[in-house]
Amino acid sequence: MDSSIINAIITMSAIGVVSAIILFFIAQKFKVIEDPRIDIVEEALPKANCGGCGYAGCRAFAEGMVKAGTMEGFFCPVGGNDLMKSLGPLLGLIPEEKAPQIAVLRCNGSIKNSIPKFEYDGDHTCSFTTNLTAGLGGCQFGCLGGGECVDACNFDAMYMDPITNLPVVKDNCVACNACVLACPRNILELRNRGPKDKRIYVACMNEEKGPLAKLNCTVACIGCNACVKVCNFDAIHVNNFLAYIDYEKCTLCRKCVEVCPTDAIHEINFKPRVPKVETEKNTPQPKEKLLVVEKEISKSDTAEFEASSNN
């Protein structure tokens, strides 16, 4: 055999051995000692890397929590309370409990309710059109229908309704906050899911005076204060002609939904209404106010009133 091949093999092996020794010592010297719990926590997390917790991803969240040595301020919205409870014993910490939340669209200005006033054939992305124009219906606070929130959703929990051209949040929303950040008009809000997923909220963001708001959209909040007066729990406040329901204080009594003249307050996942006569007994307020209808309000009358306020 040619000696050059043997020489080559010997040289290469020698270089290999020497390098291995050097690398071994370097590895010893610069060893990063990581808390093994980080890996355990990361393994338990949903690995959605959605950023809903406020960290860059699940690994960063696990690192942050283990290093902080407390679970205060750390909450994974995807895993929810169950996950946080299971993580507690792993780390020997007490988990923070939070009410489960869901994203809510605070606008109902669909094509039907807020009729387009002009044609627009430019770029349709929300972040672009929000600067250019108030929106097809003329409301400068409402949904633009560009669907940037749907694009931002990592959980397939949103879709655009083809008829109303508004985004719809499905029940599998994990409240990761991605859509809220994506919306240039801040229409989406994370609200508590409430018992049995029942929610009441004002589906409007219009801060204009009543007549102006009504001009552009039939279901706009006009800041009439009717809901504030009827609320017994101090849960509703009107700022800049816009009502806001505090979900922490709301007891889901639905009184405000009844009195809203523009149907701007929405109730979700409630049973269908009981017949009107009964609700009337429960709430005597309309009788006092409606001086014109002093006589007994018959069934047909209330139906008419409902119909007219619906239009």
Binding site: F128, L132, A134
Partner: protein
Amino acid sequence: MGLLTFKIGGIHPLENKMSAQAAIEEFPLPTKAVFPLSQHLGVPAKALVKRGDTVKVGQIIAKGEAFISADIHSSVSGKVAKVEPVLDSSGFRRESVIIDVEGDEWDESIDRSPEIIKECKLESSEIVKRIHACGIVGMGGATFPTQVKYMVPQGKTVEYLIINGVECEPYLTSDHRLMLEKGEELIIGITIMMKSLKVDKAIIGIENNKPDAIAHLSKIAANYKGISVVSLKVQYPQGGEKQLIDAVLKRQIPSGKLPIEVGCVVNNVGTAFAIYEAVQKNKPLIERIVTVTGKTVSKPSNYKVRIGTPIISLIEKAGGNMESTGKVINGGPMMGKSLITVDAAVTKGTSGILLIENEKSKRIPILNCIRCGKCTSVCPMGLEPHLLSIISVNGMNERTEKERVMDCIECGSCVYTCPSGRPLLDNIRLGKRNVGIMIRNRSKK
């Protein structure tokens, strides 16, 4: 040697100056005038009047308190009907003063005689104060408060005053008519501006599709020291201040800097005329020349309009056929914005009202980019619009900033030339907005 023009990029769209021969007509008083409190660049002014107040023509109705802001004066006399948000041309409601017109009673301090006053007795700083008090803004369309330009920062010297009589936008002729009919006043305005800036050289740049204006102004300028008129090759967007300085002086402004960096101050001819009226006649900015034109207008005209007049009345007077009109544009076809409502008012920046016929008002279908590079070759700022467009849409803000997106002057040459009808400028504007937010956040930290 060929005619002067700027070095890179540029296009030559059809000129369509249909109203070039129409003399300026005085537009009748409106019955109701609307003054948005934000009709200039910068911080909106604050209303000084309230409901029920009586105002005279030329009376101040809103004060611009911030550094970059401008005062607003009433162009009509009458009673203040309301101070409330009113739909502006882009569809947003903005705070405005609405005045019901009664008679035409002018403020006593305004000199309304037609006689031309040549000599200016005011000192440099007094001229700037007068410009500020009269609410003068750049009349070319950008509406930048003029007094800011005249407060030269320390350590900078001004060598040249450049007057923009280019009017490179197709269709528009308001500056052209102003140069022809108010030449003498305009040149006196320039001497006042020169005195204020303490410069002895002023150059008026005019494109050579207006030979009558060039001849007229050259004849008048010969009687005044230091003012010269240069004829420029027709090229869009020569009216941009960076392009105009390049065309006239062959000086290039570094990226992100202002014309003062190369010793220039650029103003529009309309501004020069407004300064003449403000300084010599004490007349605030309450009128402007507006071109009403388009293929669906039976009588393309130039009107001298009181600011606050509803745009619809201008269109009616010029015989605009609204049924065959698909789009009404505030400004020229290249940089103007289409109106959402024709009830909006004429503001300080309304240089023209352009009616586009139904067939031409739709965009062509958007096709794929074929990498032909036409947009890059016409960009007057030397940018790559196709690249900026893509990285803006994908939210690559750092990269977009590195590719100098903030240098874009939004002239629209790239969109004009794109064979695939891509919304390049729309996307670049989006990128500019995002980068602007990023820069602001950075400076906060």
